[in-house]
Symmetry: C2
Amino acid sequence: MATLLVDKRDQMFILKEMLDIDALCRFPKYASHTGYPMVLTEAHKFANVELHPATAEGDRQGCTYDPKTRAVTFPDCFKGPYRKLLDGGWLAMCDSPEVGGDGFPLTVGTAVSEVFYAGCFYLYGAAELTHAAAKVIETYGSDEQKRIYMKRLFAGEWQGTMCLTEPQAGSDVGAVQTVARPNADGSYNIVGTKIFITAGEHDLTDNFVHMVLARIEGDPAGTRGLSLFIVPKFTPDAAGNPGARNDVYCTGIEHKMGLHGLVTCTMAFGDSNGCTGYLLGERGKGMPEMFHMMNEQRLLVGVEGLSFSSNAFLHAVDYTQNRFQGGSVYPDRDRNAPVAIINHPDVKRMLLTMKAYVEGGRALAYFTSYCIDQAGVTEGEESGRWHGLVELLTPIVKAYNTDKSWEITALAIQCAGGYGYCSDYPFERLARDCKVTTLFEGTNGIQAIDLMFRKLLGNKLVNFRTLTGKMDRTIAEAGRIESLAGYAATVRRAKEELEATVEGLAALAGSEQGLDLYAKTAPFLDLMGDVTLAWLHLWQLTIAEPKLMEAVGAKGKGEREAILAKNKNAAFYYGKVMAGQFYIGTLLKNSFGKFERLRAEENPVIDMFEKSFVA
Amino acid sequence: MATLLVDKRDQMFILKEMLDIDALCRFPKYASHTGYPMVLTEAHKFANVELHPATAEGDRQGCTYDPKTRAVTFPDCFKGPYRKLLDGGWLAMCDSPEVGGDGFPLTVGTAVSEVFYAGCFYLYGAAELTHAAAKVIETYGSDEQKRIYMKRLFAGEWQGTMCLTEPQAGSDVGAVQTVARPNADGSYNIVGTKIFITAGEHDLTDNFVHMVLARIEGDPAGTRGLSLFIVPKFTPDAAGNPGARNDVYCTGIEHKMGLHGLVTCTMAFGDSNGCTGYLLGERGKGMPEMFHMMNEQRLLVGVEGLSFSSNAFLHAVDYTQNRFQGGSVYPDRDRNAPVAIINHPDVKRMLLTMKAYVEGGRALAYFTSYCIDQAGVTEGEESGRWHGLVELLTPIVKAYNTDKSWEITALAIQCAGGYGYCSDYPFERLARDCKVTTLFEGTNGIQAIDLMFRKLLGNKLVNFRTLTGKMDRTIAEAGRIESLAGYAATVRRAKEELEATVEGLAALAGSEQGLDLYAKTAPFLDLMGDVTLAWLHLWQLTIAEPKLMEAVGAKGKGEREAILAKNKNAAFYYGKVMAGQFYIGTLLKNSFGKFERLRAEENPVIDMFEKSFVA
């Protein structure tokens, strides 16, 4: 069977050869989990056999809403796979045994998530939200709340949701108008409308647990007046069994570009003034509590973006291997016999571009998870440094990987020509689906603002310097391998230009041109992504290049390809080295123009007059 | 009413102030057409009132196919507008009075096409195909063929189609297997299957005239064995009225990412061995005859890409003017009151980026049409130079404008946040629809190969030097305007780097690294587009900057904005100048990295081993 979801060999390369997860597993916290390769194998099996077959049909059928019953129906092909996903205990694989989890490192969990998102974005997306709600309750819930909700959520028995957005409160969460009035029994009467609620209502679970941001009557305006509430669909009785129907209903669903297999609901709380909610954590701390989970959620959205790119790339490889069209331009081949189009240089350029961004984006996402794992097993300043890297890299994983998914899925469409536009192939669906990842959990514009002002400047560049320190070590190591010296020099140049750029941004802050910073957020995030990927590719080259040299040495094309055809491992390292060399030697050159762009003054943006866009 | 399709003021700026269409109209061929501004006004009215309202509903309903009757039904809201489009005589506005046309310059026709595509891509797309078929018959048809088919096609009474692609013959047209066997009466018996046939069958016209590429039995393999045939759905009788049903049927339609309102058919010719076709033009000349029309078709596809970008940009301006969210970051405004998000720098950056590419892409498309017009009214070498520019620029208009539409529609989605992903707004539809323009009439990969090998190197850089000569004149002129000198210098630098790059490519051809060229086609086209747009922006600045200075001088922000708020014309020039300055001063800087990239050796692409993409 062709590998069409995620390249497991590449995952293992990153986990084992690059990040040395085996060493991580020597920490007592993870001691029993050296068996992660087997888990990954199982995940691939499950994604290919159970999840993926439901996806195209789920997109075709979509979710339906019945305004009479206010019920949402999922595609009928979802029930079996969803049950099996929960029964497999996959949701809590990185959680502690006390809550029913398996305690795997998050890095391994991230690898599994990529596979499951690629298998079925809709089903795993719904399940992941439940997991996020479980984590919020684990962190902030009372013992009673934990007893009733937590394990059921970790097991996926009930659906969890995140209810932040309102029609007038999107990126500006502080504008939330949903109100909570205290009841005599300590509970709250919730009234308000939330929109864009993923999986707010459906027929796959018996109960729903909504995490709702609302303002207790009289509390201040803005985000600091917001509190977090648990609003169950059926209020659990003392034993935790679903009881009375609460006054929260789905009043409509969105018709969207994609994500047809995962419903997006408008939720009305207290339309009949009978919606009861329960304060979760501290009054007025709703935002920080939500945001405690946000980093991990944003990392996961980045993994979603990656999964679309991976999926599109592997399907494109498969398509171009099997589509014969046009003669070869290589002088050693027959010009007149049609060849598989994977052999045409322009197609190879597209595929190698995809491969470079997929494998770079994968290293980026896994490395960020690895930093979370490291922060959890180290202490003091060391742990702080790992945590700082997580802070810095999270908006990049989220925005860069999802922005790239729009480009990569489009390249895959181009590889398939007209067929790429037709629903018989997955390419067009992947492009439609991936776009939502640039929007939810904070638009990519919001990520870029977060990176510039909180993660970079707000932190006086400390986290940034931790990152460039790591880059320096890789550059030095690569410089010692003769065949990599040129690539090391290019990455050094990029890193130095990045440092100079960041110094320039820091100098802008507080200067007369300070507003320029606001016009530079997104281009800066993009460039941070470019250079970080260059470092990660160089790191991978330092591992793969010596192994490739061992297998093929400096042999010519004919001999080399004879070896690669027989030796799968050598073929893998060859692809890894080509992708890294193409990224650093060719694609990264684009970034040197982007540095120039970032140095430009942004007067036209800052001075632009509203009525002059169309006059 | 907000301007939501195409900015007419900008169209008029390009037509009148930049290209001086009034002077073009002094040539006898166009002498009676100084009234083009009125025609443009009528086109906008028609597009807004009749075409645009049908579009969202057309996308929602889609086209349906009944396998029993093999009939295709268009959305019912299309009938009225389509009739009115034909009755308005719009199709033949640039054709000669002898065929029922109005003889307008093509530049004006291109402006009208942009408006109509933006109004309804589906309906105007169907009509334009009919027009293309009419032109083929005008150029190559016998007197009898012209008498029967031509005027009916120019009037849009019957639907014309282009039938090239077959399952095994996409980009490789020479692989066509449809066969034509001579009948005793001089007609041909056609047998074969064509796919991806736009408007191959529907219920808006009484008859269909298919232009079919087929191989006469015994003719050589490859493109030089192909001939062109007219295959009517109902064979016209001597009076030209639809007669007997011909054996050509739609056997299925594609389910696509977008373009739901314009059907894509699989057409079976001669399934019952009763399909009659009529040779059009010369035996064995099918390809050159098709390609005679291709330049104009490709230009039009570029205009389609532009129309999506324009539509998305103007809807984004409208949305962001009316969406209030978050406080202003400008020091002179209230930080706490929500402002229209058009005032946030990151949103302004997105809008200004869109504006710069829309107005640059528009200038590119109109200028290329203008070259066609000039080639038609000049003679000898001068005409040849204009024609050379058309040759060079056409693949750029097609591929660059359609590639950009994928980026621009995505930016528009980002401007609208989560709403951008929902079908209540046009953004997601525009993104889905625009993707097909990167694929049809030759994928953008094919355009880039055409540009590199035929239009650039195949022509020994003559056309390229004609273009850079024009750039030189604009750079010199801009250099004489003090406030533009810096921008002129940046464009000069870009032009000189482009010249050096092109010399480098020419040197590669025939060298040992010659294969590298095949890996550089698409990045080169992209860069040609970047630099050509820079030139066109500079040209526009030389006109707009003095007019802006006249209106506002060097006044500060407050005084300036007071003038702009009152003076629409000044507000337009201000927007034009800001877009041009942003493009050249900021966006173009990215291109200097792309030059570096193009200089890189492409060994990884050329050497990549098929089995190493996934090992």
